[in-house]
């Protein structure tokens, strides 16, 4: 039973990353009509940012949790301003190709300087150790990742679904021309939205640094799984992406316990099943 709970916890942690990443993808897709292939590379940059802050400037985990998403978010906004904005009006597919190219560049540069092996990042002192819950041993850091991710996800949901800013954003998603007529600066909003989505990816990167080590290709395979998550959940609903992300993480964890050979593939197999039964995704609208 111990092993089952441990795998469930691993599943929840992976689910947190799926949720944070697919949430960002959904927000970006809503505003920019672009599937951000560079999301995995920016997630990796978040982790590296935390690593640099610690090793070069001796700035620890807690400030990194704020600085890294902002720094990578600004980097993302520069990408949006200099490149992505020129794609508006073109077929969606060009956005995918452009961001794929950006991902290759970012990952290639990091691989040149850091190879493919992992760099260690220590768990902060406050979150070291574990708790005995009676039925299982819970490493505190892992519990923290799950709870903090959940809080961030719900916070993002609240921001988009329940605030004035979010209302403007959703309106601009539906009809940017009309929203501009109301005097709202839609291009600036698009840039900030991209920054927000990218910041969420970088935050997930910082969270994962102490668990998964910091590697240049840490986001490359992850982003493909997240694409499958997005196909399963559909991008129509923020809450939908959050729930799908966590649920798939848990299912993956269970698979690791009951049938480890399929743990790499279970998300893709589920995607196939969902497409056969409900092609528009669990929460999505038909496209």
């Amino acid at each position: 039973m111990q092993a089952l709970y441990a795998q469930l916890l691993v599943g929840l942690i992976n689910g947190s990353f799926y949720a944070l990443l697919s949430l960002g993808l959904a927000v970006i897709f809503g505003m920019l009509n672009i599937i951000n292939f560079a999301h995995g590379a920016l997630y990796m940059m978040g982790a590296f940012c935390a690593y640099f802050l610690l090793s070069l400037l001796n700035i620890g985990y807690w400030p990194a949790l704020i600085i890294a998403p902002i720094a990578v978010g600004i980097f993302g906004m520069i990408l949006e301003r200099t490149m992505l904005q020129w794609l508006s009006g073109l077929d969606h597919l060009y956005g995918l190709l452009l961001t794929f190219g950006m991902a290759l560049i970012i990952q290639g540069v990091f691989q040149n300087y850091f190879g493919s092996s992992g760099l260690p990042y220590a768990i902060p002192d406050e979150l070291k150790g574990g708790m005995n819950l009676g039925f299982m041993f819970l490493p505190i850091y892992r519990g923290w990742v799950v709870i903090f991710s959940l809080v961030v996800c719900i916070g993002t949901w609240y921001l988009i679904e329940r605030t004035r800013l979010g209302a403007n954003l959703r309106a601009a998603t539906e009809n940017p021309t009309l929203v501009r007529a109301f005097g709202i600066n839609v291009p600036r909003m698009i840039t900030l939205t991209y920054g927000l989505g990218v910041g969420l990816a970088a935050l997930a990167g910082v969270l994962s640094a102490p668990i998964n080590q910091v590697r240049p290709l840490m986001g490359a395979d992850l982003i493909i799984v997240v694409f499958a998550v997005v196909v399963i959940g559909g991008m129509g609903s923020i809450m939908g992406s959050i729930i799908t992300g966590f649920a798939l993480g848990v299912i993956e964890g269970l698979t690791k316990y009951f049938y480890p050979e399929a743990s790499n593939t279970v998300v893709f197999v589920l995607m196939v099943l969902v497409l056969l039964v409900k092609p528009s995704g669990l929460t999505g609208r038909a496209t």
Binding site: F29, I35, M83, W86, L87, G89, L90, D91, H92, L93, Y94, L96, L97, L98, F100, G101, M102, A103, L104, I105, I106, Q107, G108, V109, Q111, N112, A220, D221, I224, V225, F227, A228, V230, V231, E261, N264, T265, F268, V269, M271, V272, L275, L276, P279, S280, T287
Partner: protein, 322 residues
């Protein structure tokens, strides 16, 4: 919404004549390669990728479907052919037939799933399906995991042509490439191809005209996958191995890149793109990971400033369809 290929010109008899002239020139140039002393291995490899990119282009350029998982056909056919030659000891022609048939079967299975969604979702689904296959090949014993299948015997095609001879192999690959190319050319100029273009331009209207668009898209997908598999089977004889690299997502990305550089939706673009990218990889092989960075830069530059690609720009300049 601007379509992928902005100004496609209708294929008039004159345009057909242009294309036939270019085709004849291309075939003649390729036929004299062994006499020029150019390293034939490089050209053979490029020809396999050119056919692969043409097959991919059939789907994106004429069907509007961007597959980000075309490496799965390349790799699957490669593994099956390699296994058939090495373990079962089959003749080359049977190996190619079985490998291509395997890719066709894969096309049917994945196509039924993938064409359920359009546009961007289609790309993500094909990418995820190819990743699923990658993990399967990583774990099944017959692929030999990380090592791949190596030292594949080349044998005698039809019992006559000794494929271990580079010149003979070169002409066999060339014939395979030209055959595949003509099949694609015939397809895009057939009534079927016209319906595909109509679906690309405006799917709801095609549906309203009574076309079962899903069937057309599925057929195009299967055809594209089968030809990509054929290219994968041919490549086994050139490289004499079949490995996980051929199924990896980065390979799918390279196929997209070749077609983009040459020109999406042009007849000859993918061929040019394949030669450009393969040549680049050869000359820059010493730069390690910078090759990936350069590929990324080419992607970015192409999408931002050079969306027509090499052949697309030439065709646009001369107001011809090529």
């Amino acid at each position: 919404m601007t379509a992928l290929t902005d100004d496609t010109l209708p294929v008039t008899p004159r345009a057909m004549r242009d294309e036939m002239i270019v085709f004849a020139a291309m075939a003649a140039l390729l036929a004299i390669v062994p006499l020029t002393g150019i390293y034939p291995f490089f050209v053979m490899q490029a020809l396999c990728f050119a056919l692969l990119a043409c097959a991919f282009n059939l789907l994106i350029g004429y069907g509007g479907l961007l597959s980000f998982g075309h490496a799965m056909f390349l790799g699957t056919a490669g593994y099956i052919t390699a296994h058939a030659l090495k373990v079962w000891g089959l003749t080359p022609e049977l190996g190619i037939v079985i490998g291509t048939a395997g890719a066709a079967a894969l096309g049917v299975i994945t196509g039924v799933v993938a064409i359920r969604r359009q546009g961007i979702y289609f790309s993500m689904i094909t990418l995820a399906l190819s990743q699923l296959l990658y993990f399967i090949y990583l774990q099944t014993p017959f692929t030999h995991g990380e090592d791949g299948i190596q030292g594949i015997p080349q044998g005698h095609l039809f019992g006559v042509f000794n494929l271990a001879n580079p010149t003979v192999l070169y002409y066999v690959i060339l014939v395979g490439f030209l055959g595949g190319f003509l099949l694609i050319y015939r397809t895009i100029n057939s009534p079927f191809g016209e319906v595909l273009k109509a679906i690309r331009e405006n799917e709801p209207r095609a549906i309203s005209l009574g076309y079962k668009t899903d069937q057309y898209k599925l057929l195009a997908y299967i055809l594209s996958g089968t030809l990509a598999g054929f290219a994968g089977s041919l490549k086994v004889f050139v490289a004499q191995n079949a490995s996980l690299t051929d199924v990896h997502w980065s390979m799918s990305g390279e196929i997209v890149l070749m077609t983009l550089v040459g020109g999406l939706g042009t007849v000859f673009g993918p061929v040019v793109g394949a030669f450009v990218i393969i040549a680049m990889q050869q000359y820059l092989a010493g730069f390690g990971q910078w090759v990936t960075v350069i590929q990324g830069v080419i992607f970015v530059v192409c999408v931002l400033t050079f969306r027509r690609g090499v052949i697309g720009e030439i065709a646009h300049y001369f107001r011809r369809s090529l």
